[in-house]
């Protein structure tokens, strides 16, 4: 399997706030990397930085071998076709003054795809692909339901024939039943078109459902990364463990038996993160040595690592 995207040492710093700090990960063609974490962990900023919608302070983003951070404007604009994004608030991501046909058509126009007579037919084809009825072509965003708006956004992203789509909380604002429709759509599209996804979400249940690999972020850093089955079955980092234990399961019997690891306190101020391991102020197993320095990644199995010094104690 070939690496489509390789992120290496990615930093996004706003003054003292290290929103994203030294991220490294990769995504294979046709696969999904889930990026989970709570609000303020920098997962959305990571998505934006990959697409160069915010400029990274340091690091490399290699797409098909080309470093997006170092491309000139024109080359980057051409490459944007290959990397697309959909947002949490689908309605806000659609210009309220344009009808659906123009919203999708514009994506074609920007890259000179299907010009002239072929344009209208292609738009119809694309709407069909995401399961939208053709008559919606004349509708404006405010006339669409949440699910329909997200389908239009997906449709627009697909219009430029991308290889990777960053999905930034794409179903978080939707009702459960509609959420399932969109999740299924994204999975179908991946199968049919061989898309790779970076699936950003705070919802660990949806991420489990969507992803092949999962990276867990806390205060700008990835604390653990592993294949899906592995990370949900054998989470290693204390943060991942507490996160997973906190997610409710829709089964009263299981819920009654579950042991929650309740974390102390709140997220620290991102402008003044704790020294050493950033999680140590809330960590149930923190020791003095955790304050000493940034913990290095501990390899635990093939493709599984976690940044916690207590994992090497042979417990």
């Amino acid at each position: 399997m070939s690496r489509l995207l390789e992120v290496d040492g990615l930093d996004v710093h706003y003054g003292a706030v290290k929103a994203v700090d030294g991220l490294s990960f990769g995504v294979d063609r046709g696969r999904t990397l889930g990026l989970v974490g709570e609000s303020g962990c920098g997962k959305s900023t990571t998505g934006y930085a990959i697409l160069q919608l915010v400029r990274p302070s340091a690091g490399r983003v290699l797409f098909d071998g080309a470093d997006l951070c170092r491309l000139d404007t024109a080359s980057l604009r051409r490459l944007r076709r290959k990397l697309q994004i959909i947002f949490q608030d689908a309605h806000a991501s659609l210009n309220p003054r344009l009808p659906v046909g123009d919203l999708v058509g514009e994506a074609l126009d920007i890259h000179g795809l299907f010009p002239g007579a072929a344009r209208a037919g292609r738009i119809r084809e694309l709407l069909d692909l995401v399961g939208l009825a053709g008559h919606l072509i004349e509708r404006y965003p405010h006339e669409l339901s949440g699910g329909q708006a997200q389908r239009v956004a997906i449709c627009r992203a697909l219009a430029v024939e991308p290889e990777l789509i960053v999905c930034d909380e794409p179903v978080s604002a939707l009702d459960v039943s509609i959420q399932a429709q969109i999740v299924n759509l994204l999975q179908d599209l991946q199968q049919r078109l061989g898309l790779a996804y970076i699936f950003i979400s705070h919802d660990l249940s949806v991420v489990r459902h969507m992803s092949d690999e999962v990276a867990v972020m806390y205060l700008g850093k990835i604390v653990e990364l592993a294949g899906k089955e592995r990370i949900y079955a054998a989470p290693a980092h204390p943060y991942t463990r507490s996160l997973l234990s906190a997610v409710p399961v829709p089964d009263p019997d299981l819920e009654a038996k579950r042991q929650r690891i309740i974390l102390k306190g709140d997220l620290p101020d991102p402008a003044h993160p704790p020294s050493g391991c950033r999680f140590r102020t809330r960590c149930p197993i923190a020791i003095e040595r955790c304050a000493a320095g940034d913990p290095p990644p501990q390899p635990l199995a093939a493709g599984h690592w976690a940044k916690c010094i207590r994992l090497s104690e042979g417990s």
């Binding site: 039943s177 429709q181 249940s205 409710p248």
Partner: protein
Amino acid sequence: MPLLSVRNLTTRFATDRGVVRAVSGVSFDLEEGEVLGLVGESGSGKSVTALSIMRLVPEPPGRVTADAIEFDGLDLMRLSEAEAREIRGARMAMVFQDPMRSLNPVLTIGRQTTEVLRRHQKLDGKAARRRAIELLEMVGIPMAERRLGAYPHQFSGGMRQRVMIAMALSCNPRLLIADEATTALDVTIQAQIIDLVKRLQRDRGTAVIWISHDLGVVAGLCDRVNVMYAGTVVESGPIRRLFHRPGHGYTVGLMGSTPRVDGAAAHRLTPIEGLPPNLIDPITLCPFLPRCRVAVAACHERPPAPRQFAAGHWAACFADLVR
């Protein structure tokens, strides 16, 4: 006698497009110390049900009718606005989804927490302050005394929700209504809040109505669930029965749509196709019929009446889902 008894509650709103029946004919009982879940998607009427009970629906444009809403020996429908105000915050309290907007940004936390105590419990300044510190400590706010002078924006979302809960509990209410109280919070913070609510409910015997779209939260917290759709309760039952032997097409659909963190769900979700009905149009048959996967012939002929499956478990559904 139940603590709260709601009979045939109907709430309508006049809009420029017509009358929206947000809640139609909802009836249920809540026992003392019981935790009842109200589950449903946006527009299902779960929040409006709670607001109607609290007498917080603005009239007009709203219009609340009911055969009876009895709470703690009082008929809530017959109360004047002043009397309702006396009961709200004292005997029944509510916590909302957005703790930022439910707190006044220009008043200190101390001022807002003591105000309730002064009004309902007639405590003087010093006593109210002492009690406020006690309450904040009880909900897990460290260094509560020092934080009384802080403003809401200096608190995180989780902390603000704790303050809201502290305020809601300040007069030892017999009923606490939480409307999507943890939806805006991160899961680790949600776990803290749920833990807190469970503890308070156990220690004080407070009855809770927990409104949520999240089946997982409800499964872990509630004794009984009402599933709402299009302004009606379509199924009601004890938590274990309802989750293991759901009796309504919508409940089944909801569960099939929910991905699970424990991976027990099927590889592919089975979404509910289509959209909820427009509540302006009159609904004559089962409101879920256009989206239902298990509809039978009778569904197209007449509206379903509630069918009892076991003690306290019923659903308004013709399909034989529970055997």
